[in-house]
Symmetry: C2
Subunit: 367 residues, 2 copies
């Protein structure tokens, strides 16, 4: 049962992609299934547990396919996302976020009561003490120490800091020390392995068990076996892939399950085309590129600017072959995860025919 | 009646802003009202009709306040947005977009049948002929010629092109030539005036009436009177303002009605703070800046990177005074219009107390 508003211009099952009102992202069922199978086979081959991050699709049916293929559980970023997936039947959820605020902590406690396995991360005394104050006297919460292994975002900075925070977690009421989690920068497997190994050794010397070591990332996902200290790997983007993963060497263009359909609405001057996908569709996420997406079949076209509902292309290198006004183009977005989050519904297809249309259940849940 | 999903962490009327789960944009009622009044007074003072663009708020109640203040009608960008506002009672709508596709044209025709005044723009023979094919034999559609007066997006390139397209519109069944529309680059009033004046003269010589000349833009809105050829002005961002409008000199920091509330979730290393507002809240829209927003009261803090749910700040220039873990910051976003579009609901306040919570009725309607 779709919850789409009456204003949405949605296709129906059996419709042809060529007839879908644009702009809209679409997902190729077969490419997505192959992505899920390929990554799970790699993890299985290396004896690594796999925990997909739902941020890329925000859709329980896809997480079910990931778990059916062999994934251990799922990874969410926010409490509300975890609620959506708990309601859909998932009972092993890791929330990789420092959780603050009375209302979020209350809802986290309610989640912890109903799930077989809920885990969160923390990287500071303040976060850990806040969790302990809320969970003291309740079902204890499993907390992993988040480690900054080089990405420069959250995480404690050294193995000695890991030990100190793990001791705090283990000693405070309401909390159970669950292990380590990190989000690395791509291509840094040896640095990650060194940080984790040293941390585990310090914990072992201190007599603190470290059951979970959760490494992450799609870009260098196929290097996950180079971090044998990890007990599991988390990744999200691999399920759809995007131009960023293409550039990172993780996939080929044929492995990109998400295309954004757009229509050429103007050819106002030589060398310029305008499409109906702008910042409210593709998002202005450069993701390390100089322009805003890859036009399938027209790699020389440059999506040089986005306003809210227009994409402006420099097509001077492919003027003659670029589609005319009213014709459709397909775009591989720089970053799929942020495109998914723009739309209330996702359209799936096989061989150009719509197979299903689903609510993006956790869209926009950023708390 | 709110249509929010149960997962949203919404405040209630009377709640204090300090207790709102973050991240979330909030709108100061008094600042917004002053923005509406100030711009309308300017337009009234210069005898210019004013047509607010709803892209910034996507919310009928705000458009009603704009019309109550004296605005002539509203400006939408997509057919579905216009449907939302038509359902809310608006009957004078200009859609500034080249409309293609059978389904959109059908819904445009239905809108045209029910509205007192619906107008669209076109900048090519292909777009105009498509409209004529659909509207021949129906209630005629008013079409304005979109002019590229220097912004380099859509629009015909010269006054001679204006005349040619106006003649086509005037001669085809189902269409009425309504005049001109443009979206200028900021600070180019004299070039806009020259383009429009020459176009109007050519139309006059050809005996073609040009009732509407619709100029636009917030950044140089207070230069609208320097384009006397225009009969009306369109603008959206002025209602909330943002860091972009601040930089353009359109407003002061005190005129920014939208603040994004965020919580400091980590201080992992000296000089680094992490907030819970990332690309799925602030959007990665640089809007000409080098970083992703202005932290109110901490102008030396640099929001240097966004991942989906994290904002990473360089606070090395304000380490000692920057809020600690668990504390709230307020951010003036680079670009308000794209932030509004991330959220299903908007929270309004006066003096830090929530006054209302409303569905962002046209969020995500990009067709």
């Amino acid at each position: 049962m779709l919850h789409a508003r009456p204003y949405e211009m949605l296709p129906e099952v059996g419709d042809r992609i060529a007839d879908i009102p644009t702009p809209r992202p679409i997902i190729d069922e077969d490419v997505m299934a192959a992505n899920i199978a390929r990554v799970q086979a790699y993890m299985d081959g290396h004896g690594l547990a796999f925990r997909p991050h739902i941020k890329t699709h925000k859709l329980p049916s896809i997480a079910k396919a990931q778990v059916a293929a062999g994934a251990r559980g799922i990874n969410c970023q926010k409490v509300t996302e975890a609620e959506v997936f708990a309601d859909a039947g998932f009972d092993d959820i890791l929330i990789t976020y420092n959780i603050h605020g009375a209302r979020k902590l209350d809802r986290l406690a309610a989640l912890n009561d109903r799930l077989a396995s809920l885990k969160v991360v923390a990287d500071s005394r303040e976060t850990v003490e806040g969790l302990s104050r809320r969970f003291a006297g309740e079902k204890p919460l499993v907390v992993l120490v988040e480690c900054d292994t080089g990405a420069g975002r959250c995480g404690v900075q050294t193995p000695a800091d890991v030990l100190e925070l793990a001791r705090l977690i283990a000693g405070l009421p309401g909390l159970i020390f669950g292990g380590l989690a990190n989000y690395p920068k791509p291509g840094a497997a040896s640095a990650v392995q060194a940080f984790l190994t040293e941390s585990i050794a310090l914990l072992q010397q201190a007599g603190i068990a470290c059951p979970i070591v959760s490494n992450a990332g799609t870009p260098s996902l196929f290097d996950a076996h180079l971090v044998p200290a990890a007990t599991e790997h988390r990744a999200g983007t691999y399920v759809f892939n995007d131009r960023g993963m293409l550039k990172a060497g993780h996939c080929t263009e044929a492995d990109c399950a998400m295309h954004v359909l757009a229509t050429v609405v103007a050819r106002p001057a030589p060398g310029r085309a305008v499409i109906d996908a702008g910042a409210k569709t593709l998002t202005p996420d450069l993701f390390g590129f100089q322009d805003f997406g890859l036009v399938v079949g027209h790699p020389q076209a440059v999506i040089k600017g986005l306003s809210e509902e227009h994409g402006v292309l420099d097509i001077s290198a492919c003027n003659d072959t670029f589609p005319g006004i009213g014709e459709m183009v397909r775009i591989i977005p720089n970053h799929t995860c942020v495109v998914t989050n723009m739309f209330d519904t996702m359209v799936f297809h096989r061989n150009g025919v719509v197979t299903r249309v689903e609510d993006i259940a956790a869209r926009g849940l950023v708390w």
